[in-house]
Amino acid sequence: MTELFINDEEVTVPAGTSILEACRSNGVEVPYFCYHPELSVAANCRMCLVEVEGWPKPAASCCTPVAEGMKVVTETEGLEKDRAMMMEYLLINHPLDCPVCDQGGACKLQDYAVDHGMGKGRYIEAKRIPTDKDLGPFVNTCMTRCIHCTRCVRFADEVAGTGDMGVLNRGDHMLIEGVVEDALESELSGNLSDICPVGALLDKPSHDVSRPWEMTRHKSTCTQCPQGCDIEIESRDDEVMRVRPAQDGVEPWICDRGRFVYDAFRSDNRLLQPKVRQGNALKETTWDDAIAKSVELLKDKRVGIVFSPDWSLEGLTAIRLLHDVAFEDCKVAFELHRRDTRPFAFEEGLSMSTKAIEKADQVVVLGSDLRQRLPILMQRLRKRINGGKPVTRIGSMYYRTNTIMAADALIRPRDWAAVIASAMVQLTELGKLAAGMDAWLENVEARHDAGKLLADALISDSCALLVGEEIRSHQDAAALIHGLDLLMRAAGHAEEGKDGRNLLPEGMNAQLLSPMFGDLRTSAGDLFDAASKGELDTLLLIGSDPVGDGLFSKQAKAALEKVDLVQVSSISGDMGQFANVQLPASAYSEVEGTFVNMEGRVRIADNPLRSLGEERPMWKVMMRLTQALGFEVPAVSLAEIREKILELSPVLTELADAWSGKDVQAMFIPSARNRKATTLPVTASMQGLDIVSRYSMYREGAWARASDLLSEAGRIHAMDDVIVHPDTLANLNLEQGKLVVVAGSEEAEYEVGLRTDVSPGVIFVSKRGTAGDLSNVTTAELKGGQ
């Protein structure tokens, strides 16, 4: 620790802190532009000057470390003159267009010009006029306003890892530029407009639409992925205008999916009125009418329920209550990506916070396209790697990460058991054992070299295992996860406080699903098959879109052709064409409720936006249905729902404190563990090529598909529908072009793209068009087309 004086006050800060940070942490304001707490120090704006006793010239506080006994002064006449001059230098080339600038009202330059400027500029020569750049659908540029603080460049290098922004030329010809083909390569690009202190990089979608001072801000939780970032929804007259990271949120950034999905809130795809089908069309109607229609389709019928997990905890609980009261014997599915419904040794959710993952000695990512699925967690890993800590990865593709893995191996999904087995052998050789390992090993003959990477990482003091979708959706997932559990036990990463077993989930509230619904879990595929076979009359789809999302879209389509559909949702989406009745449920921005992210972090939304139409919170819709179906209503208020939560799920008792106002920052709901889930692997001989279905953050989820902005980005970032490694074709003596994929008894022709970053022996399919139909199969053959 270092003691120093700031404006005669004695303060103590950790050694090595910069003067600027010492000032900030002690509430002393020093103006700055280029400094940003999440970026490296550039010290180029020279706005942060302070005086240090005994020093001949003012010092830039952001890059000057504190020293014992140093006497810092932040306000003097000299400094005021310096700051005024800095403002004058900056403004000589800055247009005076605040009235038409989106940043106006939230602009550092404008604020400081008022606080420190001289009022009138003395520059009379021509101003520099750089040309604007097209950085894609999310970021608007107005480079005449750029003050060259290089925050965006450092962001692209250090945070996004893309390095696609840079500084061209020198002197006052210096230009900030992006080298882009269609759009910035980053899934975090929206943050650029936030970190630009002036109006040079702006949010393109909200460009010229609104001004900062017209906005009302609502703290909320993003439910677009299980990260559940703290967000601030900015609205004007109840209309969502922008989504931004919350000021004091856990993570400084949010991803483009969570940010730009906002246009879906007011899209035509929003379900704002109850609707019932009349012939080919859905017609708006009253709640009473729609509920009556629903009852017709549900009462005394064979019903299947499929719901999505991103509703608030209160909403989910209401679904459970409805089920328990009215549909006790019917099938319920809530995971569109899980083939194996046997219990997992460690269920969906993380045992560690993302911060702890960032700090662990070793991190191993098993089969996950993290950048697409959990961009913010990926950013933590990138930060970790920038800090010199390794990340190991094994999977069926070198998924792009915009950073460098310490060790990386390509495998096919069928190789997972062999990888785990090899790691077990190596741990055994080191004397690291767990009961049950022998039995597991006995069932697997094959060994795979990639197991060494896993074993190497496991023999460290702390290791975070991030188990991804390639394993979670594996047909033998329970056995693989049991195997991984054994490895973690053997290596000492399963004890409390050191638990590194993390199963990356598909959606928000993942930590709750197994405790709340584990006993009801059916495979969505089985449920749809049952429906197609005529075993069901009606599907009750609650927020779920099984055609657009998940592995079972082909089966879902077949089922929906067959049965009636009651859809409860915030988005009409592709399910609209099948629905007989649509009941509008409030969006996540419009409810009071509880959300639990993949870390188990609790967030309580209490400042919702007003509904735009007649939509109702999920719990109310569920309770109303319960009543209309003729059952006693288990809860008639939010408070009663919450009581039910505590009754149903003992693991959630802590929430009582949260609802009564206790700070939730340190509250973590643990993810479920099944000690008895000791499934052993099956040795199945597999033919053909493995199929892996690709995920796109711009396309997955009804919200994203309802967003024009994300759809546009999805088009820009799209890859071929079907991709294989060149060796895969070479081994089959095939040439690139139109090829036929044979899956079981069905075949279809596709334009097959080649990429060297996918594992040989694997076919990657996107979920677009008919390629999506392949998602459900695990192997296929490839043969020449016409």
Binding site: G163, D164, M165, G166, V167, L168, N169, R170, E177, V179
Partner: protein
């Protein structure tokens, strides 16, 4: 010199680059020497050439762009076979560089950024060449001509136009 085909280093060059890279702790340090090589081989640095160099050294295109645009000796535009660079900084100026530069422009009939019709010459005003004892200094493709005069430069131009060596 540049062609519409994709620029590509010769095998010999690539071997040279391989040796060059080994002299530095990281391949990125080889960027400036490689840019010089490219300029020698292709005349000037088109976007395609820069892209190609990024590929050869495993760099991002932005890393190459930043360097190319920062240094005045890397050219993104073509210039004449002989680039006449007149130093007009203080010491040369005190010894008549401004007049010399004006006269040379007149003799050639071009201004900075232009190429004479025969493709032989371009002219530029540059910063201190570090040879002020010989002011004024004119560099002809980085060959120094000290104590230059309108006559000596005129003679040089005539020689080149007549196809003689300088």
């Amino acid at each position: 010199m540049s062609s519409s085909n994709q620029p590509c280093f010769s095998e010999k060059r690539l071997a040279e680059i391989e040796t060059l890279v080994k002299r530095y702790p990281s391949a990125k340090s080889a960027l400036m020497p490689v840019l010089y090589m490219a300029q020698e081989d292709f005349g000037y640095l088109t976007m395609e050439t820069q892209q190609m160099i990024a590929g050869v050294l495993g760099l991002k295109i932005m890393e190459v762009r930043e360097v190319v645009t920062f240094y005045t000796m890397f050219k993104e535009q073509p210039h004449g076979k002989y680039l006449l660079e007149v130093c007009t900084n203080a010491s040369c100026m005190l010894n008549g560089a401004d007049e010399l530069y004006a006269q040379m422009k007149e003799t050639l009939g071009i201004g900075p950024g232009e190429i004479t019709e025969d493709g032989l010459f371009s002219i530029a005003e540059v910063e201190c060449a570090g040879a002020c004892a010989g002011a004024p200094v004119v560099q002809v493709n980085n060959m120094y001509h000290e104590n230059a005069t309108a006559e000596s430069m005129g003679a040089l131009i005539t020689r080149v136009r007549a196809g003689e060596a300088i």
